[in-house]
């Protein structure tokens, strides 16, 4: 049978596309249910089409407040982790140290640790120090777990860098600062950007560590968590959909520009 043969030939493609569908399905559901008018407190069953939530995305108490808090934390955590992580990565690649193995494990371990373990141990530290849980404790925690990811991303880039480029710059009488700013930094930039993006995404979406160390402060993921108990407003889906659409649009636009540049350069 030709149909069967076609299926057998393309088994991998079909299996891959099914997995892709499994991964995309929840996003579709989130999007569709942002147009729902639910009966009762929970937005899990379809009732009727409505634009109410889209017209009033901040219509639920504390929702947009938690969103802006999450954005603020994510921005500062990204800045902190990127600066510290880039410095650490450069030091690790460029210089020899004692205790190199220990330092590498210290950077690797946070990535190999279940989040709940880090969350719980950090909370014991804060409780023992009598620190007041809130914005600052969350920020400290986020910088801590984003740091290793930034180091890894920047390190990979700096390691693959051709050292002759910097030598050439110095041969052409560039000072150390000039060499760093005009040669080293631009080459390392994609790694730094990748690390920063990863840090932002990790911080913005973090729940477990935040939940332990936030006290009564409510970030966006914590708001969603709370609403799963109290009742899920449609506005959550609106914000989820908007974030998805904006991010995909930005990525696709970036791809489009890169492609145009490539084809222009080819001419």
């Amino acid at each position: 049978m030709p149909v069967l043969r076609l299926l057998r030939r393309n088994l991998v493609v079909i299996a891959g596309l099914l997995t892709l569908a499994y991964m995309i399905l929840p996003n579709v559901v989130v999007m569709v249910f942002s147009f729902n008018r639910p009966e009762g407190r929970f937005n899990y069953a379809w009732q009727e089409f409505s634009l109410d939530a889209w017209k009033d995305p901040c219509g639920v108490a504390d929702l947009c407040g938690s969103l802006s808090l999450s954005l603020r934390i994510a921005v500062w955590a990204t800045v902190g982790a990127t600066v510290l992580g880039t410095m650490t990565a450069f030091a690790l690649v460029r210089y020899r140290f004692r205790a190199r193995g220990a330092i590498n494990s210290l950077i690797f371990l946070p990535m190999a640790m279940p989040e709940v373990v880090m969350a719980a141990s950090l909370l014991t530290l804060f409780l023992n120090m009598g620190a007041e849980l809130g914005f600052w404790t969350v920020l400290i925690a986020h910088i801590m777990f984003c740091l290793s990811f930034v180091v890894t991303a920047v390190k990979a880039r700096v390691m693959s860098m051709d050292p002759r480029l910097e030598e050439a710059a110095r041969d052409l009488y560039a000072g150390p600062v000039q060499t760093f700013v005009r040669v080293t930094l631009p080459i390392a930039a994609p790694g730094i950007a990748a690390g920063a993006l990863l840090a932002f995404a990790l911080s913005f979406d973090d729940f477990i560590i935040t939940n332990f160390n936030a006290g009564s402060t409510v970030t966006f993921p914590m708001f969603v968590w709370g609403s799963a108990q109290r009742g899920t407003p449609v506005q959550i889906n609106v914000i989820g959909t908007a974030m998805f659409v904006i991010a995909v649009a930005v990525v696709l636009a970036g791809q489009f520009i890169a492609n145009r540049r490539k084809s222009n350069a080819g001419k």
Partner: protein
């Protein structure tokens, strides 16, 4: 005057001056802030947690270190079902991620052609919506009387899964199957991306060579593709298993009281019951178990350069 009489050239050493102390300290200044941050907010908390786990006392009177190691035994005795469940669910989800993720990573690496970037964007895109919102969406998808449950019921799949103990009463929500389904879903990208990276590095001509030497596609996969993608398999399974074992979001949102994982217990002991020693002990046991499994796994798979 002969050449040999010329005064000796100044020794090269004098030109290359010894770097000043300030220059020599540069790497340490670069390293210090990041390492200090990790020491104070990652390593030191572990010490505090270790000390908390051997304390006794109460919230009112305060806790004191009494080297009360029994807490560990009591915690294990009380919560070993949750422990076993965590490892079981995380292990199953990791296996499912590998089985589901491999074809997709293979598709992106070798079959997608000009669609490669689009598919990659689609793999990462779900990340842009908060994972809690997406996990809640599974409540709708797996709802009682929903399309998924109806189809599984009609095909008698639910009878099989009920016999295996994965589902009960013709429902999927609030069963182990829902939790594993959520875990698999949430950690799939962590499996696919490393798999894709290692598959993408494979030279396509190796496949052709295998074919020229009369290897069937299955043999080519078994003898060429799979061994070369092992680094991706190892890092993918680690990136899936480690976070999945400590996760409590899926178990709480999609499961029931019978599907609680050890993360839930640590969370409620710490934040609601306020029994800090038990919570610290549980968290320590989880860490030890995970680190042990990871170390053994990395040794066995022979990819130590990964770390």
């Amino acid at each position: 005057m002969s050449v040999t009489d010329a005064p000796p050239a100044p020794p090269v050493k004098a030109v290359i001056r010894k770097p000043s102390t300030r220059r020599r300290l540069v790497p340490y200044w670069l390293l210090l802030p990041g390492i200090l941050w990790l020491l104070v907010f990652f390593a030191l908390p572990m010490v505090y947690q270790a000390s908390t786990s051997v304390q006794t006392g109460s919230l009112e009177k305060g806790f004191e270190v009494t080297w009360h190691f029994r807490t560990y035994w009591d915690a294990l005795a009380d919560y070993y079902p949750q422990f076993v469940r965590s490892l079981l669910y995380a292990g199953t989800a990791t296996l499912l991620c590998l089985l589901l993720g491999y074809p997709l990573a293979y598709l992106i690496a070798f079959k997608a052609g000009r669609w490669r970037n689009l598919v990659l964007v689609l793999v990462v895109a779900p990340f842009f919506t908060s994972f809690l919102i997406r996990t809640l969406a599974w409540k709708t998808i797996l709802a009682d009387g929903g399309a998924v449950v109806d189809v599984l019921h009609t095909l008698h799949v639910l009878d099989v899964t009920a016999w295996l103990g994965w589902t009960e009463n013709n429902r999927v929500l609030a069963t182990p199957m829902a939790v594993v389904c959520g875990l698999t879903y949430n950690f799939l990208p962590f499996m696919i991306l490393p798999l894709y990276t290692s598959l993408e590095r494979i030279d396509g001509r190796l496949h052709e060579a295998a074919g020229d030497l009369y290897a069937t596609p299955a043999t080519t996969f078994r003898k060429v593709t799979l061994p070369l993608s092992m680094p991706g398999v190892v890092s993918g399974t680690l990136l899936t298993f480690i976070p999945a074992s400590g996760d409590y979001v899926n178990a709480e949102l999609l499961g029931s009281t019978d599907t609680k994982m050890v993360g839930s217990v640590i969370q409620s002991q710490f934040l609601r019951v306020l029994d800090y020693p038990t919570a610290a002990a549980l968290s320590f046991i989880l860490m030890a178990v995970v680190l042990l499994l990871v170390t053994v796994y990395i040794r066995r798979s022979g990819t130590e350069d990964l770390v």
